[in-house]
């Protein structure tokens, strides 16, 4: 057993006092009589769990106001979590009203993606405007970091609130092409407003 007064010895061990505020957490080294007798603490523990048991049981029968039950579990497929607007789901491409993508295939997202999940093949229209002829997002590689959204100069790729439909039997099926990624601007309006709020101001 180490010297139990080590806390007073530590300056000797080359550690300066500084303006520390050490707080001793160990109240007793040996067991007290109360702890020595198992039964009282066991009863106290059972008291806690029994209170939880009956409160939760009552919570199912008489749910508290505004909630379906007292415990915080969400019955997933039937009920869904209310996600904060900050939530980063899977990235989607924003679609203009005429059905084309906002993306101009500048390749910044492709470059910044830490997992190299994005592949873009750029082409030019007759009027000289660039557009992605192919935009592939490998959802098996994506780590949902949100860098693509952060660097995009056109607000063309955003992190949606979608998190479903990503379980596939084949990894090839997780390579989402443009048509699977495009979402009308209306459906991701909240997110676009949010990222404008956090990234748009000078010095944020």
């Amino acid at each position: 057993m180490a010297d139990i007064n080590i806390i007073h010895n530590y300056p000797k061990m080359g550690i300066p006092m500084g303006k520390l505020k050490p707080k001793r957490v160990r109240k007793n080294i040996e067991l007290t009589l109360w702890e020595r007798l198992y039964i009282f603490e066991i009863i106290r523990g059972m008291h806690i769990t029994t209170i939880h048991f009956f409160l939760n049981l009552l919570g199912f029968i008489f749910p508290p106001k505004g909630k379906k039950r007292r415990i915080m579990t969400v019955y997933y497929p039937e009920e869904k979590l209310t996600l904060p607007v900050a939530y980063r789901g899977r990235p989607v491409l924003v679609m203009r009203e005429n059905g084309t993508e906002k993306c101009v295939a500048c390749g910044l997202c492709e470059k910044i993606c830490p997992a190299s999940a994005i592949t873009i093949i750029a082409e030019e229209k007759e009027n000289g405007e660039r557009f992605p002829a192919a935009y592939t997002l490998d959802m098996a590689r994506c780590v949902y970091c949100g860098y693509c959204e952060e660097v995009c100069p056109k607000e063309a790729i955003v992190m949606s609130a979608e998190y479903e439909g990503l379980a596939r039997r084949n990894r090839q099926n997780l390579r989402f092409s443009k048509d699977k990624l495009l979402r009308p601007e209306k459906s991701v309006k909240d997110r676009i407003e949010y990222i404008r709020g956090i990234y748009a101001k000078c010095n944020y």
Binding site: T49, T50, F53, N56, I71
Partner: protein, 357 residues
Amino acid sequence: MVADLIESIVKILFIFGVNIGFFSPILGWVERKQSALMQDRVGANRADIFGYTLIGLFHPIADAIKVLTKEDFIPDGADRLIHTLAPFISLTPAIVAFAVIPFGGQYELFGHRVNLIIADLDVGLLFVFAFASLASFGAVLAGWSSNNNWSFLGGLRASAQMLSYEVVMGLNIIGVIMVYGTLRLSEIGAMQVNFFDWGIFLQPVGFVLFFTCAIAENKRAPFDVAEAESELVAGYFTEYSGLKFVMFWMGEFLEIVTIGGLVTTMFFGAWHLPFVSDQMLLNFFRFAGPNGAAILAILVNIITFFTKVIFFIWLQMTIRWTLPRFRYDQVMRLGWKMFLPIALINIFITGLVILVK
């Protein structure tokens, strides 16, 4: 003669139905749901038939289908015979022990004396302990025959733990035997008519010790060192699968019921309501005629008995989900150095009180 036979068959079917048909599947559900509520969870509720989940009551059925279709796995190098035999050895005592536990008094029904106990042995209490010791063979043989180091360690722990707690448990019931002067469980029950003659008032220390030892004997938390999943993977039944695994599981659950029954019989007035004797029940139900009164009284007895049993099942589950697990040497120390002396002192004091009286 025929009446005796019919009576026995009815009683056996009843107990078998209650234990195997009701308690054993439903306790799996109770364990899940109760632990969930204690832990702020919902518990299993996904098994459904046509969209109805019935708060998870279909899970026992789903479990049954699952285990019946699982591969019956015997590891390479295992002793096939003993490996197969072990779960049976473990399960049988749990079923058999309930035969000597009375669930009601004695009544006159259609001119035939009905005794609400399957086998009214005059050594009933010893019978229970004889069979409880057999159960330890199941765990030990399972551990040794599996050809797996973790199973082996689990088997070792199980044998040491169960043997030592049997000693303490045996000493515990000596106090009860001294107080009531009989080994016949139906007599012990019958003697607790008076509320203040209940075992809990005559043997309070005996009750605490007996209950603890019984949980230890059943190898449930906090005494589940033999199957401690974080230390020994699953202990002695690591290498079991499918139906054989479930037999260990069922044995454990049935033993919970048996412990509940024993504790009720020995310490909590058996089938008696507080301050109500069987004769009072018969008088109360006089309006239904002699046979009707007997039937109603039997029903009240059975309901009272099983309500108490269910309370003790609940208590065992609460203990199981509240406490952390002991360490192996601490279990041994608790058994030999704490419980054994206390049990001996208990016997001594009980003897002293009886002598003074």
